[in-house]
Every structure is written in C-alpha cells, then in structure tokens.
Amino acid sequence: MKDVFITANTIISPLGFDSEANVSAIAKEQSGITLHNNISTSPCYASIIDHKKLDDAFSKIGDSKIFTKLEKMMILSLQDTISQASFSISNKTALIIASTKGNIDALNNNFEPERAYLPVLAHKIKEFFGFKTEPIIISNACVSGILAIAVAKRFLQNDYYDNAFVVGGDIVSEFTLSGFQSFQAISKKPCQPFSKHRTGISIGDAAASVAITTDTSEREAIQIIGDGSCNDANHISGPSRTGEGLYLSIISALKEANLKPESIDYISAHGTATAFNDEMEAIAFNRAKLEKIPLNSLKGYYGHTLGASGLLESIVGIHSLKNNMLYKSLGMDELGVTMPLNIIENTTKKELKTFIKTASGFGGCNTAVIFKKVKQ
C-alpha cells in the first residue's frame, strides 16, 4: 500500500487568509471570537469572516456577486492550495469536499433554493478549477473535515486516485446558530474547552484545504499513518458516556500506525466546550492511555467551525509539527473534567514528531487520524 502525505494547505478564517497568518495569530493568542450584535435575537459571541474582506480578496480571482459566502471561502482556500501544490489537476486527482450544511442560507436569502443542495455547491467548485473527476462530498456532521482526510488517504493508498485536493467549510448561519441555541449549547462568553467554567460552544466560520499525494519530494513531509471512524451507538445528539466510539477510533488508528499511545507527541482534541463533549473526550483519552500527552482544543481561537473544524485544526497540527510548537489551549483555566488530561496551558517549544486529531459529532460519529513528520 502506498504512503500518503499531506502537503500544501490554506486556512481561510477571521485570523487570516493563509495558514501562516493563522498560525502566527495563534502563537500570539489572538482569537477570532468576538461579540456580534446582529446574528441572533441578542448579542452573541462567534467567529465570523468579514464579508467585505472576503469579497475584496475574492474579487481578484472571480466575481464576488455570483458565488455564495461559503463558495467564496472554499474557492479562495483551494486556489491558494492548488497553486502551492507540487501536482496539478489530472483525471486521477480527487476533489473531496467536506461540509455539514453547505449553502443552507440559500433556504432564506437571495440565492436560488437549489443552491442548498451540496452537489450544486460541489459543481460550482469543480467548474471553477476544472476538476476532471466527480466531486466526492462528505457530509458527516462535525467529523466531516477530518473524515475527508481519512477518505483521501484510504483512496490514495488503494490506488483509486494519485492525489487529492480536500476542501472543507461551513458558515455561521441563522439556521445553525438558532439550532444550537435551541439545544442551549451556545456559550454566553467565548468558549472555554475543558474548563470547569465552560458553558457551551461558540460557533465559527472557516474554510480550509489541503493537497494530499503519494508522491512528495519534501525533505520533511507529513505522512498520514493511521485512521479510524467509529460510531458510539448510544444517542443521536449526546456523546457516549464511556467515549466508546472515540476510543475505538483512536485504537484503530494507533493499531494501523503501529504506535503505542506514548509515541503520540500531541493531541488536537475536538474540545467544543459543551459539558458532555469535553467530559466524554477526557474519558476516551484516558481509556486509550493518552492522558499524559500534551493536548489542546483550538475552538478557543476559531469557535466550532463544524465541517471545516477537522480539516482546519489538522492544518494547525501540521504546522505545530513543522514548527515544533505546542500551542496554548485558549480559554482553559481550571480543568473541568473528571479524568486527568495534560492541557497545554502556555505555548511551548517542543520537538514533535506525531500528533493525533480527533473529532466527534451528532449521530454518534467519531474520527481519529494520526500524522507523522518524516524525513525523506
């Protein structure tokens, strides 16, 4: 089976329109989460990309009037990733798109209602870049972004494609914000993952993309070495109290990577800052014997970006490996879960070789992917 590497990458978020700007902001402990007065019935903390800034950037490559906000975010991200990538689009290049709700705002705005269909969104992206293959769309709740990386790896390993561009994104919309509010899951302050004082999520906009290939000449490459994506079989909106699905996903990924838990240098957790999610993750990480591994959640910088989160946060993890930096888990003060965890409280330089990205979502889904820095 072929080795699979993740190479070029671009984050589009309130912290910047390329990965380096984003990582720089994280190193300075800047957060994209601010108070917004006009997105809900009362002021609400969220991380939202300024539409004018987005349009200014997008106007350089396309007509900002004919694409939706999400399409502009995804296209801008992919444009940069494709230009950085060592390979160009061929008929053995996969286009993988991850989103939970796509253009859901089209149900109630000036775009035609058909725009809300994910295949329509995918077609816009395919046409823009001239992709030759049928887009592969993954819509699997909040694990979509990281599952998309696992899907790309699985396809490339098994020779179905030579390489892939993976793009993920979701927008802050009235639809999703009101839904999470009906779940009483939105925090009144910026979210605080794993903290004793956490009171829920902050929602966020973002798009992110990566180039995945079996052939890289990078001297220091990032290889995807293990994955797992298992269900809790417990409840459709609450996570398993024993962290069952996440635990099984982690074990599956470790087994495939042929690694013991202590060989993982860093955990990029899902850490949404709901009472149940963070507690469940703590239990799963302890069951998998990962409780001593330095861990953060990046939701304090970006809020919960839904379908983008797994992809976006993996990119930050990749930069963590390349920079040998453990970034602070923003929003953390006192540990508020019943099992021990090694939360990164201050940004620290440390030699890092491997990290695991985990995510969980509605429907009882969970995904874990392990990345390793290899010298070629």
């Binding site: 149900l107 699997n140 889904c365």
Partner: protein, 207 residues
C-alpha cells in the same frame, strides 16, 4: 491487491414497495403518503421501537430498509456489531432542513425546534441504525447527484483491504419533497451474490 467482494443481501424500498434480493415482498397502495406507508409497515412488522416516531422521514426510511436487510441477511450478532455503514444520497437532510427553517423564518412566531434540528444532518440515519443494532463500526456519509456505485465500491473495498471492516452496509437513502428511494446492500468477502459496481447498478435500476 483489491479484494473480491460478495453481496450478502440487498433491499430496495421505492414507490411504496419493498423488495428483498430482487423479489417484491410487500406492495402497498402507491397513493399512500410516505407517513401512512411507514406507519403500516411498522405496525405489520410489530417493530415495538417507540423512538421510530421521533425520527424524521429520512431516518424512518433508512431505519426500515436496514430492518428488512438485516432480517434477510441473518448475520451473527457479533458480526453486526462491527459492521461498517457507508450510506449516501443527493438531498442530504434538506427535506427536514426546510421543516426546521419553517420554525425560524417568521420572527413573530420564532420557536426553533431542537427535536427537528437534531435531524438536520443526513448522517443521523447512520446513528439511528447503529443505536438499534449496537453497531460500533466504521461510518461515512457521502452526498452525490445520483447514486454512485463506483464511489461506494471503492470505499467499501478500501475499508476491507485496510482491515477496518469485514462487513459493510452500503447504500443510497434519499428523501426530498415526498420523493423517496432507498437501496441498501450488505457486502463482505463471503456472500451469496457476485458483486461489482455493474451488478449493483443493474440491481438498483431494475428493482
């Protein structure tokens, strides 16, 4: 080395008709609404699963199709618990999304419904099937314009080659404005029927 897969069983629910392994086993009046159709099936099958009525139409459809499929497949319960589930559709959860949007569009009658919101993700159907049978295997939900048997074949094969799953529940479950179509099939390295994307395409189109 690509694995040679077989089909253990398959089920198609469309036009108020249910067929198993190509044979029609239940045919109800085509004019019945989807709600009435599934209610009748539920009662006749004596399902005794109250959660069924909390599900949205998409999940009810997926749930019922999987019930018939697992019944026909007669898999050992140990195998069921690790079965991978790889499903797909075209409309995602839009049928339910529109219903949720209705609870928030009118600002003078603004009551977002959590019970509807929870079903505004197509992969929830995988959750419902998993909970019913305690399946803790691999999951993935794909969206495509039409049923893409090639994509599903590639993914199921990859799961088996990578030793992530030995048996996989594959399929297409779509629900959009009263038009529905559910086609599910169980694959593994051992089974009754030969498997290839051509066979699946033929089976799907014919039934």
């Amino acid at each position: 080395m690509k694995k040679q897969l077989k089909i253990i069983a398959y089920c198609h629910i469309k036009n108020n008709t249910i067929s198993i392994n190509g044979k029609s086993i239940i045919a109800k009046d085509k004019d019945l609404s989807f709600s009435d159709f599934v209610k009748q099936i539920y009662k006749e099958k004596q399902l005794a699963y109250p959660k069924f009525f909390k599900m949205d139409n998409l999940c009810k459809l997926a749930f019922l199709t999987s019930e018939f499929l697992f019944e026909a497949a007669k898999l050992d319960s140990k195998i069921i618990k690790h079965t991978g589930i790889v499903l797909s559709n075209s409309a995602s959860s839009l049928d339910t999304d529109r219903k949720y949007q209705d609870t928030i569009t009118d600002k003078d009658n603004y009551f977002p419904s959590p019970a509807v919101f929870v079903y505004t993700l197509a992969n929830i159907m995988i959750g419902e099937i998993s909970i019913r049978h305690q399946i803790k295997g691999e999951n993935a939900f794909f969206v495509s314009e039409k049923f893409n048997e090639t994509l599903i074949e590639h993914y199921a094969s990859s799961l088996i080659t990578n030793k992530k799953s030995s048996h996989i529940l594959c399929g297409w479950v779509d629900m959009d404005n009263n038009n529905y179509d559910a086609f599910m099939y169980l694959v593994s390295e051992e089974g009754l029927y030969n498997y290839s994307k051509k066979i699946i395409k033929k089976t799907y189109t014919q039934n």
